[in-house]
């Protein structure tokens, strides 16, 4: 088959909602886009363990400590599925980790903000995981099979996390004045970064067209962002808290909430490395990786010794 035929064949499958599998032919650009997107998502899960991990040792009750640890562990699990999905496209996990550590690969900028109080654990679950799910649910039907299957598992757990986060904020919002203040402060700090998680406005977004065509992406940034705002603007009422946006207002005509202007300068600043914790996060990941080198080497050396011994015994 000529490349054109292959491409047509491929696009027909995509259009017919048939999943593309690792051994199937696919355009180079499709493969590249997927590797970039899946590995970026995997890195986000791994780096995302750090801000929440920051409160494990200080969780205020045994139950909350369990919930938090289990949640962070789930993120490690997501990282694992996603690295595996990306590996089916012909890149190794070590290569991807190397790209993360060198700064070549990105991860979600949201994790470059610090977790300052316990209420941040709830706010991350509710807002950050909430935004992530908005982005991710459509990916359960994404055209690449292994990615789609990984996302189904991820989404199931993420929506559990979101409910847990909201429940945790609900408890705090029914608590002491200090706890209520903590919740409002956390919402104030996480709200704008959360709605920036949907990326630039459609007009400024690159790559969107091809991704749409290949069904890697199914909705535009602005569509998803609007859904998120609509959802959170309602839920925040249950907490008896407010979102830090004076322009937030129900628009009867649109059937949506209007909301204020996003500070894109901050967004690009954080993306380009200048968030409050960019260096801290990457340093922490690199440190864990470097300090684990001798462990990985020992495990490898031992495994090789075993194989050798078994061979010798067999001989």
């Amino acid at each position: 088959m000529t490349t054109q035929e292959l491409e047509k064949n491929f696009q027909d499958k995509v259009d017919a909602e048939v999943r593309i599998e690792p051994r199937d032919w696919m355009p180079g650009k499709y493969r590249q886009t997927l590797i970039r997107q899946i590995s970026q998502h995997a890195h986000s899960e791994i780096v995302g363990m750090l801000p929440e991990g920051n409160w494990i040792s200080r969780a205020p009750s045994l139950k909350r400590k369990q919930i938090l640890i289990a949640k962070v562990q789930d993120e490690a699990g997501h990282g694992l599925y996603l690295y595996s999905a990306a590996e089916t496209l012909g890149i190794t996990r070590d290569e991807m980790i190397e790209q993360l550590h060198s700064g070549k690969a990105k991860y979600s900028s949201i994790f470059n903000y610090p977790t300052i109080t316990w209420a941040d654990m709830g706010a991350i679950g509710w807002l950050v995981d909430g935004a992530a799910i908005m982005n991710q649910v459509p990916l359960c039907r994404t055209s690449y099979g292994p990615y789609s299957r990984a996302m189904i598992r991820v989404c199931k757990e993420e929506s559990f996390h979101q409910r847990q986060g909201f429940e945790s904020l609900l408890v705090l919002s029914n608590g002491t004045p200090e706890q209520r203040a903590m919740v409002q402060d956390a919402i104030d700090r996480w709200w704008w970064p959360s709605i920036m998680m949907f990326g630039p406005h459609d007009a400024e977004s690159t790559n969107t067209e091809a991704s749409m065509k290949w069904k890697i992406k199914r909705f535009s940034n602005d569509e998803l962002r609007q859904r998120f705002v609509d959802m959170i603007a309602e839920q925040v009422k249950l907490l008896d808290m407010t979102l830090p946006d004076p322009e937030l207002k129900w628009n009867e005509a649109r059937g949506h909430y209007d909301f204020g202007k996003i500070n894109w300068e901050e967004f690009w600043n954080v993306v380009s490395g200048n968030g409050p914790c960019n260096k801290q996060r990457l340093d922490a990941r690199r440190k864990a990786w470097e300090e684990g080198a001798w462990v990985r080497e020992a495990a490898k050396a031992h495994a090789e010794k075993r194989v050798l011994r078994e061979k010798q015994q067999a001989a």
Partner: protein
């Protein structure tokens, strides 16, 4: 039957398992490889679950004790709790007791250390707990028996996992072997305390609720010998052992651990989280 000693014994196990969980969870997000990050976190979660069961039981022992017994237990109850005017709860015990009221074995409060330190500590402690929980299954105390039954499978996995890691590091590279030996030099003196019953523990033994922990020494040593042989490690000769944790005398590490772990409850006492 007086419950003060049973209460203290239960606290001792609760505190020890809590601190195992607390220290292990310092690895979460920082493990040497993703699969092992998940594994050590799993173990941390198991320990936390065990400690919650034990604290809940300890709290119920206190809440249901006659006033005369309560007076004896009060030395180990957070002073602050009295002002809350409600029943004692698991979190009061974990987050509001003072250092000298904690009864965990010293082994469990030692700083996380490197991977060799962690897996060796886990191996020593789970090899001990394995024997303990297997007997607890048959305890005359129904609650402890239930906790033992629930926990023995978990610990059996911990023991297998940590044994494999001890072997892997001991018989891995020169560096991993050296690190494991360094860890051994740091930890060994804290293993003796596991088998020496505290005064209250002796009474619980006499009551027939638990077996004398001295009985676990022999099988524990046997397990250590077996694994160390595969790990190319020498079992240290009998030497002087640290003690005091079971009586509330801790190492200098303990204060820092508690300051961090208890901070929120200390700052906002009796809040709901």
């Amino acid at each position: 039957m007086p419950t003060t000693e049973l209460f203290l014994y239960t606290l001792q196990l609760a505190d020890s398992t809590l601190l195992m969980g607390q220290r292990h969870s310092e690895w979460t997000g920082h493990g040497p490889v993703l699969e092992q990050d998940i594994a050590i976190t799993n173990i941390a979660l198991d320990y936390l679950g065990q400690s919650r069961n034990l604290y809940q039981y300890a709290a119920s022992l206190y809440n249901n004790a006659p006033e005369t017994e309560k007076a004896a237990m009060d030395k180990y109850i957070p002073r602050l709790w009295k002002s809350f005017q409600r029943e004692l709860q698991e979190d009061d015990l974990a987050f509001l007791r003072e250092e000298h009221q904690f009864l965990n074995v010293l082994l469990t409060e030692l700083p996380r250390g490197d991977w060799a330190f962690t897996v060796l500590k886990e191996f020593f402690y789970s090899a001990f707990l394995m024997n303990l929980y297997q007997d607890l299954l048959h305890s005359t105390d129904n609650q402890l028996a239930a906790i033992g039954e629930k926990s023995v499978k978990e610990v059996s996995y911990h023991l297998r996992w940590s044994s494999e890691w001890v072997i892997r590091l001991g018989d891995g590279t020169e560096e991993s072997n050296t690190r494991l030996n360094n860890a051994l030099a740091d930890i060994w003196m804290f293993t003796g305390e596991l088998f020496v019953p505290a005064a209250y523990e002796q009474i619980v033994v006499q009551q027939g609720v638990i077996k004398d922990p001295q009985l676990y020494k022999e099988p524990w040593q046997e397990k250590v010998r077996t694994i160390f042989q595969q790990a190319l490690l020498d079992v240290p000769t009998p030497s002087w052992m640290q003690h005091g944790g079971k009586e509330g005398r801790h190492t200098e590490h303990m204060g820092y651990l508690l300051a961090e772990m208890q901070q929120l409850q200390r700052t906002y006492p009796n809040a709901t989280w």
